[in-house]
Amino acid sequence: MYYPEPISKLIDSFTKLPGIGPKTAVRLAFFVLNMKEDDVLEFANSLVNAKRELTHCSTCGHITDQDPCSICQDTSRDQSIICVVQDPKDVIAMEKMKEFHGKYHVLHGAISPMDGIGPEDINVPDLINRLKDEEVEELILATNPNIEGEATAMYISRLVKPSGIRTTRIAHGLPVGGDLEYADEVTLSKALEGRRDL
């Protein structure tokens, strides 16, 4: 009402983003008005392209602009290890580490007893099909170390173990740079359990 229609529409669009309230939306909208036209066009194109061109890889479920994704196409990667993660962002985090050379499987969520999200609501059936088709020797369960992540890992390991595939869980314990004296008992006991020979 106070703004011309194009800018009020822009403000409305910004408020749809997470963490953006009405005041921030106004600030962003006015910032866009002061941007160069080329930059605005590039920004708009990036938004549209991200939505239009990205899809989920039909093999691993990771976001990609080509199907299958570059990781699944890469023949130099170890085909016998699959790392199961909850979210595409977790794949990026693992890739930044540069030490894992196997493949991934993205679940797009986790089993959550509290929210009534069961195994059928996440990408588990595709994982089971992959294990039947591909020659997998190890499945690394890299779900988050919380109730949902643990429940998901337990469920998958129960399903997969009878087939004889080695099922492992990522280690839990103290973060690098953390302080032992400030660690809680759950973290410490997990760290102690997962100790290894030097």
Partner: protein
């Protein structure tokens, strides 16, 4: 006002990038929600203490609106529950039921103790059906829809054999059983068991042994009763049913 409160974490909800809103059930002030700032960060000292099922001592800045958790110290983590998917499912069910059927800041020592004891039972034992039902029956009273189990819900009489009528809200005696044609036939033992379940503290129970078919009948009866009177959809029940298929 800063208070030291011991309580069990019922649920958590993400708030913003790094915060969590934690719902806690305590003996002192009942159910309350508080924000734990930065609890989602990897190195946060509150990351572990704000996980569901954790029993801890919280230092909470109590306010009229949303309170703030300043610190927390784990007393009992119920670790073996979170490491077993079936136990997790049962614990999630009783915790969600507690959250739905209890009001904010309405302390109830008995319910708190029963919740804690049921969690301890789930942690130590594999057969958790009966303690779960015992806790449910006690919680129905908190929700205001406890079934009448000590006498006929119509005439107050005590003449066996009894039937359980969902529509009449409890047991019916031999004379009143015709009031509800859909009432479920109860053996004398089952009627007695239901009465015990609704009143006896779990601490006083050593070992529970109920036949599988009787357990199933009681489960169906409680499910139908809750569906009729409960009013809230319990999300973890769906999960519990899915997981039961795993057994």
């Amino acid at each position: 006002m800063l208070e030291k409160i011991k309580g069990l974490v019922l649920k958590t909800q993400d708030y913003g990038e790094t915060h969590k809103i934690v719902t806690i059930y305590s003996k002192k002030i009942g159910k309350f929600s508080a924000i734990a700032r930065g609890a989602k960060k990897t190195k946060s000292r509150m990351a572990a203490v704000t996980q569901p099922f954790i029993y801890a001592e919280f230092f909470v800045y109590i306010q009229t609106g949303l309170s703030t958790i300043q610190q927390g110290e784990i007393i009992h983590s119920f670790r073996s529950i979170r490491e077993d998917i079936i136990k997790t499912a049962y614990a999630a069910y009783i915790v969600e039921l507690t959250d739905k059927l209890s009001d904010d800041k309405d302390p109830d020592t008995f319910i708190f103790e029963q919740l804690f004891e049921t969690m301890k039972w789930i942690e130590k034992n594999d057969d958790v059906n009966i303690p779960t039902m015992m806790y449910e029956l006690k919680l129905y009273g908190k929700g205001g829809f406890a079934p009448t189990l000590d006498r006929c819900s119509n005439c107050g009489g005590n003449t066996p054999p009894f039937v359980f009528s969902i529509a009449e809200g409890g047991i019916l005696c031999h004379h009143c059983r015709s009031m509800d044609r859909e009432a479920i036939q109860l053996s004398e033992l089952l009627a007695k068991l239901l009465r015990i379940f609704a009143t006896v503290n779990l601490q006083r129970v050593g070992n529970i042994s109920v036949k599988k078919e009787n357990q199933q009948l009681l489960r169906q009866l409680l499910d139908a009763y809750y569906d009729y009177y409960g009013g809230y959809y319990i999300k973890s029940k769906k999960f519990l049913k899915q997981i039961d298929l795993l057994k």
